[in-house]
Each structure stands twice: as structure tokens, then as C-alpha cells.
Symmetry: C2
Subunit: 218 residues, 2 copies
Amino acid sequence: MDYQFLSRTALFRGIQPEEIKTMLSCLTAERKSYEKGEMIYRAGDAAASLGVVLDGKVLIEHDDLWGNTTVLDSVLPGQIFAETYACTAGEPLMVNVEAAERSQILFLNVSRVLRSCTHACAFHGKLIRNLLALSAQKNLNLSRKIFYTASKSIRGRLTAYLSDQAVRSGSSSFTIPFNRQQLADYLNVDRSSLSAEIGKMQREGLLRVKKNLFEIMR
Amino acid sequence: MDYQFLSRTALFRGIQPEEIKTMLSCLTAERKSYEKGEMIYRAGDAAASLGVVLDGKVLIEHDDLWGNTTVLDSVLPGQIFAETYACTAGEPLMVNVEAAERSQILFLNVSRVLRSCTHACAFHGKLIRNLLALSAQKNLNLSRKIFYTASKSIRGRLTAYLSDQAVRSGSSSFTIPFNRQQLADYLNVDRSSLSAEIGKMQREGLLRVKKNLFEIMR
DNA sequence: TCCTTTTTGTTGTTTTGACAACAGATTTGT
DNA sequence: ACAAATCTGTTGTCAAAACAACAAAAAGGA
């Protein structure tokens, strides 16, 4: 097990590799391998353990009532998944978790993580605080998405998103981490309609766009 | 200060009133009063403290670019607010927090809550775990809303919402905690269009509705 | 009870955006 | 550099939903 690697993840940040080694046995962590396409969790499952991706890639997906699959998120090495479900005992997953390629996953039983540790584990508390920080961060990301999609018009969603990006970047010009299709998915609108709206706003002089570089005119 | 009351809140659950008293001084908690309409936090503020509503009522609001105010949530006695921001240092609030009536708020500085406590506070860890549970719970609520509004059609949103309610209630008939306007706001659609769609689905024999009681036909 | 207020359903009109199809641009691989 | 694949912008059509206005129903108060 690569404890050096783990100590650089958000979950184990601030905990020494030596200490992680001790903790993992204390927490009876399990490591498992998955082949490409294999299901790690299924919607409806009760996930008692959170997963840390050690290697490979994991997709969080949703199948709607008509069988269409949407990728909601991808989880890369060092990142975690299912922690929300693991932290709210009994809640069934709303999503499928699938290995996008051959992957190594470390599972941590959250009830053990949360159980206060009477003996050694001095860094146990640090782990929980890291988990809280991750949870709060995810919370903000979800809230943001809800904010951006609160408007019913494409323009409204786009301006909500773009003006927030401008504020966060501290400049009226900034690059976004999405291509058009991804931005359309994120804002929950049709790609071609989004492109059309961007074009219209440029013609109205509200925006200058070159690829992923946006500039808001005032 | 009513420590009995606090020990029944989700944040202090499992901590004895006596212990809470000790903790609050250790955490240098502050109590403040707000008049109706007074702003507790403003969008853009960096909230270092989470708020516990002791008495009164607090509204979480959003003002969009055109000045329209939307109420996102209301926080009642025993519940908390701004914890997400307090847990992610430096993130400015996306919302306004306003006293809906004369209110008493207890502020807890989260950096103190998170700082591991070398001395007395045996229940300090419990407080953090409660906070994590609250955060995970809020996370699920946000995720659910995103799920329900993932479809672009009113019918898609409504069926996503209703079928999940049916699953959670463990029955094909159940009551929902919203009136029509609130449900429309939650699903981010127009109320009258929602009513029309519900009517249509009833005529198609997919649904039976009486007030807030829904029955899904199969 | 009667009156008022709020909630809900209905309908017609108008706007918006999804969708489809395609062409030009850009990127990637060889 | 060339071909193939991917991404982006444009346009027209059409269905869906927003919006507005109103009537019916339900809830609440005096």
C-alpha cells in the first residue's frame, strides 16, 4: 500500500504515512480490485463504506426511468466516493458506481471511522475533520449548481454561472473548465441552444468568447 | 441559556446539558439578538461562525441579478445555518441570511470547533461527528433536488420526484410536504403548468391525486 | 354562517428552448 | 501534412412550457 500517496489525498491530508498505516489496520480497511465496467455499488444499495480510488477511474452514473444513463461525476485516484451515503446510515444510493477502467479501491467502514477511538489513533480526529471539509466542499458544489440552474432561461443560467466565475477568478476574463457540451450538461440545457445564446450575447456586446476563454463586457 | 434545549438539537445530540455548558465557554460561543428584517449575513460575506437558531426564525434568501428575491430555506429553532461556509474557510456566502422575526442566534466559531481540543472537552468529537452527519444529510437533500430537476420536462421531473417519494414511503400512496406552488418552486417549473400536467396524468390514469395525497397507479 | 383570502385547476396565447441536420472549425492520430 | 474524429456554431421546425387571466374550490376568520 502506498501510504505516501494516501497522505497526499484530501482525506488523509495532514496525517503521516506511518500513522496512516496504523490507522488502516485499526479501521480494518479493505482493498479491492475491479475490472473495467464492473459495478462497485448499485442504486438502491446501502453503502456502509466510503471508497478511496487508489488507481484507475470510477464513474458515478444515473439511470433514469427510461433507461438513459447519465454520467454525473468521475472519481480519480486520491478522490473518494459514496462518503455521503456512508455518513447517513441507511440511505440507499441514488446512483450507480462503476469502474471506468481496471481500478483499485480502498474501502473504509465509516461507522468505524466515526466511532471515537479510545486508544492510539491520535490522527483519527484529523480524518474526521478532513471528511467534514470534503463534505462541506461537495455541499458548496451542489449548491452552486442549483444556483446556476435556478433561472428558467438559458441566458439566466449562463449569466449566473459566468458572473460567479468572474467573481471567483477576480477578473472579468477567465477560462472555464468545460467544453460546450459539458457546460450545457452542467447548466441542464441543450448544447446547440447554448451555443446560439452565447452567439447572441456576443452580438449584443455582452460577452467576448474565444474557446473556453470568456470575457464579460460591462 | 437553555442547555436542555440545545441537547435536543441535531448539532448537540448525545451531549449532556452540563457538558454543553462547559463546551460553549471553551468554544467562546456568542449569543446575539436580531430584529425582524435584520440581516445576519450578506451574500459575499465570509462566515467564520455557524449559527444555531435559539428562538425566532431565519430565512436563507437569494437575490438574483435583476433584484428578485427567492427564499431558499427557512431555519427554525434548534436548526443551524451557514455551517457549510464556516467549514470551508474563505468561501463567500452565495445567500443572504435574514431574521424573519425577532430572533436569538448562538454563533459558534467553527475553527474552534474543528481545532482538536487537548483538554477537557470529551464531547468535542461528538460535536464534530454531529456536524458531519448534518452536512452529509444536507448533501443528500441537495443531490435529490438535482436529481428531480435533471429531466427537462415537467412530467419527467414530477415522476422522478413522485416515484422517489413512493419508494421512501414504502407505498404507492403517500402525502407530500408541499402545496402546489411549493412543489412547482422545488421542481423549478411554473405552477399552473404543473397543475395542468398533474391533471393530464390523472386523466391518463397514471395518478390519483387528492390535495397532497398522491397515488401512483401501475 | 357568510365573507374574505388563499389555493388550485383550466384555458388560450406567446415565448422559449429542445431537437435535428448540417457546415465549418479545431483537434487528434498517424 | 493528411485524414478522421470531435467540437462548435448556425438555422429552421415544432413541441413544451412559461405566462396571463380567470373561475372554481378550499380554507380561514369574524
